[in-house]
Every structure is written in C-alpha cells, then in structure tokens.
C-alpha cells in the first residue's frame, strides 16, 4: 500500500475498479439464464393464455377499456403497445395467438435472441395496453424478461444449441463462458435484491389509523400491521384470498403473528444472505418454502412463482448444468 492520501485514493480506486470489473464482466456460463428462459417462457405462455377468454372484453373495439380513455389517463407517459393499433376482433385474436407462438419459441429456444426480445415486447404491450389489470406479478415478469433479452439465454437447452451441434456434425460444441451472461445475471440479481429490500421496507412502513375517519384523527392511533403481526390475519380475511380454507388459523393469534414476522424477516434476510456463498442454498430453499406458503395464503400464485423463479438467478451455472445433465443422462 502506498503512503499518503494520494496513494490511498489511488489504491482505493484501483481496488474498486477491479472489484467492479470482476463482479460485472467475469465471463460465466449461460446455463442459469437458459433455465430461467424456459421457466419464464412457460409463465408467459400461461399469462397470455389467461388473457384469451377476455381478449375482446378488455381490448376489443367495444371492450371495457377503450384505448382513448386508457391513454388519456396516462397522458405524458412513454408507453408502447401494439394492441393499441388492433381495433378489429379478428386481427386482435390473430396477434394474440402469434404472441403465444413467439412465447413458445422462446421456451424451446428457437431463434432465442430474437424470440426472447419479441416476448418482452409482447408482455410489455399487454401490460401497457391496460396497466389497471396488472398486479404485483407483472413487474417481476417484465424485469426477468428484460435481462434475459440481453443475455445469451438460448446458448444451451435450446433448439438453437441443438442446431449448432448438428452443424458441428457430431463434434462436441463447447459452450464457453461469456461476459454477456454475467452482465445479464448480475443485473437480475441486483434488481431482485432491490425488490426484496423495498418489499420489506414497504411492509415495515405500512400503517393506518384507527379509527380511520379523518375527522377523528386527533384521537386516532397509528397501527402498523406488519410490525404488530396482524397482517397475515388480514390476508386470511380476504374472502377470495387463500387457495384453501384457512379459517382455522384466524383465532390462532400466535400462529398469525409468527407467520407475519417470518415473512418480514425473510424479506429482510434474503437480499443480504443470498450473496453469502455458504448461505445461498439455504436462502433459496427458504424462498421455495416461503413463496409456496404465500401462494396458498394470498392466492397470488403467479407472483409467488415468478419471485421464486427470479431467485434462481443466484444458482451458479455449474449447479444448473449438474442438475440438468444428470437428468438427461438418467433419462432413457
């Protein structure tokens, strides 16, 4: 280490620069991104399929959400949706099934560079045509797709990879480490960390007044449902919330309190501990349990599934290769 303030600053800048380059640009294998491509593509297919029965109802020329009214609500927003220009029911339906075809190509890894980017445009178009229909799930889906679109997620476990092997005429095609895989994976990891931090912060600051009426604010008490452990009780109280009948839990205050605190503790712990190599598998296993339980509690199955899938960005590519290659070898 050099002496003096100038030397220290130079050492610090060099160290930070090396760490930055190592974090963002160390080439890595694309297996993790390929796994995310397949899983996310299946979720996109499912999402598009759920729009099918309500296509005309929401987006049609005589639908509930006229383009003009929606755009007027979003005056000044930078949004694009090709659905805005489809004011014919037949064209709308054709475009919808074409979009599902693009998503299927993404799952299969057929022209993956193109189809992943197109799937991202498709999803954004549905979200931005009618943002009032969206929930917590769609922003997470858009986030994962955005980063998949810039990474080499079709380099393996794809039709593209199979065609490359065929062209090599039996020679083993080596999938080399790529800097673009690292950039895409790191962006997803960092963004997901930010999402967890904000979810936890949002819960810890969420409050309401009791009694609620503004004119009685002087006598009102501030209530913090996530601090007080009652938030899960509210979620249980939603008539169409839980996937199964959990009424038996409503009187069990200790269970409700413990579940509420466990959700917040997990959301606080995940963004820190998932970066620690030794604790990473534990956090991913906990995330599987936590999101499965939350899917049952809230009925937000797609959101819970997508949060779990996004968390798989932390699984090293070598581990993914170990899982999938072992399965391929053991299959007949």
């Amino acid at each position: 280490m050099k002496l003096g303030v100038g030397g220290y600053v130079r050492d610090l800048a060099d160290g930070v620069g090396r760490a930055w380059n190592r974090f963002w640009f160390t080439p890595s294998q694309p297996q993790t991104l390929a796994l995310l491509r397949v899983l996310t593509g299946l979720v996109v297919l499912y999402t598009l399929a759920t729009y099918t029965p309500d296509l005309d109802r929401f987006f049609g020329p005589d639908g509930w959400l006229p383009v003009g009214a929606v755009r007027q609500l979003q005056t000044g927003s930078w949004r694009f949706s090709y659905l805005d220009y489809l004011q014919n029911p037949t064209a709308l339906r054709l475009a919808h099934f074409a979009a599902m075809g693009v998503a299927a190509a993404m799952v299969l890894g057929l022209f993956a560079r193109l189809t992943v980017a197109l799937t991202f445009v498709v999803v954004l178009s549905y979200l931005q045509r009618a943002p009032m229909l969206t929930s917590e799930f769609e922003p997470i889906l858009a986030m994962v797709l955005a980063y998949l679109a810039i990474g080499p997620c079709g380099a393996c476990y794809s039709v593209d990879a199979w065609r490359t092997r065929r062209r090599a005429q039996g020679a083993v095609a080596i999938i080399g480490p790529r800097w673009s895989a690292t950039v895409a994976t790191r962006l997803l990891q960092v963004h997901l960390t930010l999402v967890y931090v904000m979810m936890a912060a949002g819960k810890l600051t969420a409050h309401y007044y009791m009694p609620e009426e503004p004119e009685r604010r002087q006598e009102a008490v501030e209530m913090y449902p996530w601090w007080q452990g009652e938030a899960v009780g509210w979620l249980l109280a939603q008539p169409h919330g839980p996937l199964v009948n959990l009424d038996g839990l409503r009187g069990r205050t200790i269970v409700v309190n413990a579940w509420t605190h466990a959700i917040v503790a997990f959301e606080l712990a995940f963004p820190l501990l998932v970066w620690v190599r030794l604790l990473r598998p534990l956090m991913l296993a906990l995330s599987a349990v936590m999101w499965a339980a939350l899917a049952v509690l809230t009925g937000l199955v797609s959101f819970a599934l997508m949060m779990f899938i996004a968390g798989l960005a932390f699984v090293p590519p070598e581990v993914v290769r170990g899982w999938l290659d072992r399965r391929a070898e053991s299959s007949p």
Binding site: F25, W64, S135, A206
Partner: protein
C-alpha cells in the same frame, strides 16, 4: 465472498476491451441510478428525491398511480416506463393490484348487475364466483378497485368517468341488457385477527349506474355519486 463456482479473477474481463468495459459500466450505472430514483421516489422523502419526482394526482390508483411521476427527470421516467420498471416494489401481497396506498388490503370490490333482457331479468356479478384461474380473477378485482377509487375521489376528470362508466356499459352490453342497474359493491374486511364467526362481512353498494338504451347502444347514467359515504345498505342476494 467469492463463489467457488465463479471463474477466477485471472480471466476477469479478458473478452472485453477497456473501452467496452467503460461504456458498459456507464450504461449499467445509468440503469441502476434510474432504478434507485424509481424506488426512492415512491417511498422516501429527501429533498433530492422530492425534486426528482412529481407527486401524482392518481397516486392511490392501482396500476396507474404507481407509474406516473418524476417529470423532473423525464429521461429517467420515460426509460423506466418503457420497461415497466417505474415502481416502488412495496408490495403488500394484496390481490387485485399493487397496493400503493401504503396500507394492507381491507376492502374488496365486486360489480353486481340487475339486467333487464328482452323477456327476462338477470342478476350477475363479477368477478363471477369461481372465476378461474386466479390471475383472471385478480384482473377483475383490480378493475373493481380502480372504479371504486374513481367513485370516491373529488377530482374526477372526464377520462376517469368515461373509464368507470365504460366498464359498467361494456358489461351490460355483453349481457345484451336493454335496461336495469349496475352497482359497484364493496365489502369491508375485518381489521383484527378474530375467529371467523365474529368477522362476518357484507357487500354494500358504493354507487349505481342506470342503464339507458340509446339506439342500439347502452349508455350509463350515474345515480348516486359519493354514496360510499352513506350508511351501509342491505345487500341484495349476498351472503
């Protein structure tokens, strides 16, 4: 801590020239800065973040309010809007839309219609009981919340009125109704963790539209704006 699965430092950056690394670093920095502006503009109130954002009139509207702000940095705003990343991510695990009102969900909305059809009358509700899968049901629930917000705000613009009325009219049109009433109903949920027998909740009307035939189209006329502040009425045909 370095993962044993990650390549060694020796190969770091070998495939990228210094120029490309600098350019990509700059772009990554801009992207992360934009994300930080998005989340802090939604929840924190420092002088900087306040200057960077525009507090929207529709801040409590699910799906819209969370995505309209920050005109002080229009490039950042536009970039994030295009990518659907202009959010605070403060999800409360509520159904039917991102809860940007900083509160856990305590209200549920449903539409109820008494439609006069040629030769008969019909009572319908959406989200219909048993709407499947959940993702579809959540979309209808989000529309209920949106309309309820429009009904309760004093700052209704033409487009908001058109949209809430459009939902009612579109629904009636689907049923080929010639006359009747469409009601937006709300169900207040219990606020405490109590056994089920003490937490019974009922649907009560927020506002009503009368259906009026105008040629071959059905138009709607709002009957009782702001009736959400009135005393709860007995629910019709609801548990």
């Amino acid at each position: 801590m370095k993962s044993r699965h990650e390549p060694s430092e020796a190969v770091a950056g070998k495939e990228l020239s210094a120029g490309w690394r600098s350019l990509l670093s700059f772009l990554i920095f801009l992207h992360l800065f934009a994300l930080l502006v998005a989340v802090t503009s939604q929840h924190l109130g420092s002088v900087l973040t306040t200057k960077l954002r525009r507090v929207p009139d529709l801040s409590a509207v699910p799906g819209i309010g969370s995505q309209s702000w920050a005109h002080r940095l229009p490039q950042v705003q536009n970039y994030l809007q295009m990518l659907n990343m202009d959010l605070g991510y403060a999800f409360h695990l509520s159904s039917g839309g991102p809860d940007v009102s900083n509160r856990a969900p305590d209200t549920e909305f449903a539409w109820e219609g008494d439609f006069a059809l040629p030769g008969e009358t019909q009572k319908s509700q959406f989200p219909e009981p048993g709407t499947w899968p959940r993702q579809r049901r959540n979309r209808f629930a989000a529309l209920g919340r949106l309309a309820a917000h429009f009904a309760s705000t004093d700052r209704l613009s033409t487009s908001e009125t058109v949209l809430a009325g459009g939902i009612a009219a579109g629904w009636a049109h689907e049923h080929r109704a010639t006359a009747g009433t469409v009601r937006l109903m709300r169900r207040d949920l219990p606020r405490t963790v109590l056994p089920p027998e003490t937490t019974e909740s009922v649907l009560r009307p927020v506002f009503e539209y009368d259906l009026v035939a105008m040629g071959d189209r059905i138009e709607v006329q709002k009957k009782n704006p702001r009736s959400d502040t009135a005393a709860p009425a007995a629910p019709k045909g609801q548990p």
